[in-house]
């Protein structure tokens, strides 16, 4: 990869990697560190990217995801990444507004549910793209996404209009 190719790749994908890292970690400074490390890995080992396996964006998101999970395991070695039994309760909506409530809800999801929700809802990736980026079976991605959305509906129930469905508030 030439210097020019690298710069082009950085400018094309930096925003999506930063958005993903920020939404997964909830921290600007950590997100910046993740973006920097992610592109340095690409610069040092460009052969790690195989275009036959998927696009550059999915590759970079996969690298960023691994960096985030590495950090998570280091900081919280005893907390599981995926908690299938995890069932969230409705958030108490404070005066901080709807956007902040959404942020709190997403960041409260177990990490693997959170990444599936972020990639599907915010980056509009298909299930196949998420499976490639996270190096996960398609069925597992579907399951995490389903549980993640369920948990979000429960937590954000006070902000969602009732549609004849119980969100766990009654």
């Amino acid at each position: 990869m030439t210097d020019e190719d690298f710069r082009d790749t950085f400018h094309r994908h930096k925003a999506v990697v930063h958005r993903f890292a920020y939404r997964i970690t909830g921290s600007s400074s950590i997100a910046e560190d993740i973006v920097q490390d992610c592109f340095l890995i690409l610069w040092r080992k460009p052969a790690a990217y195989d275009p036959r396996r998927g696009g550059m964006q999915a590759f970079l998101l996969g690298v960023a995801r691994n960096l985030v999970l590495k950090r998570w395991r280091k900081e919280r070695p005893h907390e599981p990444l995926e908690d299938e039994a995890c069932s969230m309760q409705p958030l108490s909506i404070r005066d901080d507004g709807r956007a902040e409530a959404v942020e709190r809800a997403v960041l409260m999801l177990p990490p693997l549910q959170r990444e599936a929700v972020v990639l599907a809802e915010y980056e509009e990736m298909t299930l196949e793209e998420i499976a490639f980026a996270t190096n996960t079976e398609l069925a597992a991605v579907k399951s995490r996404l389903h549980r993640g959305r369920q948990n979000l509906r429960r937590m954000l129930a006070p902000l969602l209009e009732p549609k004849g469905t119980c969100y766990g508030t009654k």
Partner: protein
Amino acid sequence: MEPNDDRQLRDLLQEWQTPAIPASLEQRVFKPHRSWGFLLHGSIRVPVPVLYCLIALLMFAGWRMSVRTSQTAPCVANCDHTTSGAC
């Protein structure tokens, strides 16, 4: 169960926006790699067996030094300054 394409939930999720990317990020990624910085801030991973070998080597070197020093050290107690002039 809710359908996966819950429009209401999606619209609500979109209300959370991320901050803009700081300009400093580009400088961080493209800053020239300074090898001298590694000497001050770098770290290396050393396998435990190699660490044991290094500790053993250091202990052996220390022991050798102490043996050599004791063999070559002058005997102060028997030193006769009046006849030899120096130890």
